[in-house]
């Protein structure tokens, strides 16, 4: 099945613990498939590793 891919490899990092959500990879354990956009994560999304930072706390970074 072809999944919609984001325009670029965009990554979002938790400022607390360093967990990184990479849109290209998604997060299989959490049930977000490759290509799942950060913007489409639920509003009450919390960092899957530390759970003490919310979605709006994440820092955006384009992969170098």
């Amino acid at each position: 099945m072809v999944k919609p891919m984001p325009d670029a490899n965009r990554r979002y990092q938790c400022p607390g613990c360093g967990y990184t959500y990479d849109e290209l990879l998604g997060d299989d354990h959490e049930g977000y498939p490759p290509g799942f956009l950060f913007a489409d994560l639920p509003d009450d999304f919390v960092c899957p590793d530390c759970a003490v930072r919310y979605k709006e706390d994440f820092n955006f970074a384009l992969t170098p």
Partner: protein, 394 residues
């Protein structure tokens, strides 16, 4: 003794030597405490020895906290990454897992093969329950780490106290909701530990199950499957506990019920004292402010922290949940408990004493200063607390 060092531009060379490095081996001895009772019973034939483990926890524990006092060791923040990389500390948590199994099985075999008096049976089983409650502490330390081996060891060790849902509930539920009225694992002012337990134990299970249910639904995997991380640990529990009943007969039934209950009770006790009455402010958007250091109670006592992987440096743990135990730091002016957890458990079991000791301590905290609007209050106790502390309705 290993000394960590780093050259910095502004502070010159920063060094740190962990004076507790070898003392951390005590965390391996902690799960073995019930075996002191068995060995004494074996050598002398006297069942009075079966009372010794409980004494070691609840008399020796608070006494040693008082005797050895607070811990002056505090790693500089800049050296925390180096401490995290030191695998010695990691091995201690790994090794604690088989130690919990050895103790659990040794006591089960002892109970299964000796006809003990009723009080000897209860003393030994309750002591084992408490020791395996600390298996939840080991599972806690391991379950917060992101390596595969550590999360698996967490599930394996949590199978001993039959509390496999803990690491999901704790990591994803408690840490998210801590110090809010939404958290079944944060105690409210005016709530006794006995009221709290009735809210916490079912609440924790429910939250774990819902979180895992949501995750598995997103993945499109059936909830009743091997992928369910709550059920993975439970399966080990079932094999272990059904195996004991099959081997030693029905005596294992009261043994396991009492053991499991007291293991859970240890966690209830820890949860009760860790955030009692503390409250995160609610923002305009309905979300709560991020967890701050003043949202946890701390105990910086040397002895009990060595047995508990620094669990009592609880503020730093909630600020940095994935940080390893050896790196947890103490800070000045944190909400602090008058004794380590062992002593405070005993106080919590006597609600009148707990309220007397803790309510004034809570209201005196610098961020509360007697303002009841900044306290997480049990709704049933609200009127009584307002009457007692003389404040108008919030």
């Amino acid at each position: 003794m290993t000394t960590y060092r780093i050259d910095t531009v502004d502070q010159g060379t920063v060094t740190y030597t962990d004076q507790k490095r070898w003392w951390w081996l005590l965390s391996l001895v902690n799960p073995l405490i019930p075996l002191f009772g068995i060995v004494g019973h074996w050598l002398t034939g006297s069942e009075l020895w079966l009372l010794v483990p409980l004494g070691m926890m609840f008399i020796m524990g608070p006494a040693f906290d008082w005797l050895f006092g607070e811990d002056e060791n505090n790693p500089p923040e800049i050296l925390v990454p180096q401490l995290e990389q030191d695998t010695y500390y990691r091995w201690l948590t790994y090794l604690t897992v088989p130690v919990h199994y050895i103790t659990f099985l040794a006591v089960a075999i002892w109970v299964g093969t000796h006809s003990l008096t009723w009080w000897g049976f209860i003393a030994l089983t309750v002591a084992l329950g408490f020791a395996d409650g600390f298996a939840i502490n080991t599972g806690h330390e391991l379950g917060h780490k992101r390596t595969k081996i550590e999360t698996w060891l967490a599930k394996i060790v949590l199978a001993v106290p039959a509390y496999g849902h803990f690491w999901i509930e704790h990591n994803r539920g408690h840490h998210r909701d801590v110090a809010t009225p939404d958290d079944p694992a944060s105690a409210r002012m005016g709530e006794s530990i006995y009221q709290f337990a009735r809210r916490e134990i079912p609440g924790a299970f429910h939250r774990a199950w819902m979180l895992e249910h949501e995750r598995l639904c997103r993945k499109g995997v059936p909830v009743w499957s091997i992928h369910n991380e709550v059920l993975q640990s439970y399966m080990i529990t079932v094999i272990l506990q059904v195996g004991l009943i099959a081997t030693f007969g029905w005596i294992m039934l009261p043994f396991l019920i009492i053991h499991n209950f007291f293991s859970w009770w240890v966690l209830t006790s820890a949860n009760y004292i860790e955030h009692y009455g503390l409250l995160r402010a609610q923002q305009a958007d309905g979300k709560y402010e991020r967890c701050q250091p003043h949202h946890s109670w701390n105990a910086n006592h040397k002895y009990s922290n060595l047995l508990l992987f620094h669990l009592q440096r609880h503020s730093d743990h909630h600020a940095n949940p994935t940080r390893r135990y050896q790196s947890l730091r103490d800070f000045p002016d944190l909400p602090s408990l008058p004794s380590g957890y062992y002593g405070m458990y005993v106080v919590a079991y006597l609600p009148a004493l707990w309220f007397k000791l803790m309510d004034s301590r809570l209201l005196a905290l610098p961020h509360i200063k007697g303002d009841l609007r900044k306290v997480n209050i049990n709704p049933d106790s609200l009127a009584a607390i307002q009457a007692k502390y003389g404040q108008a309705d919030a």
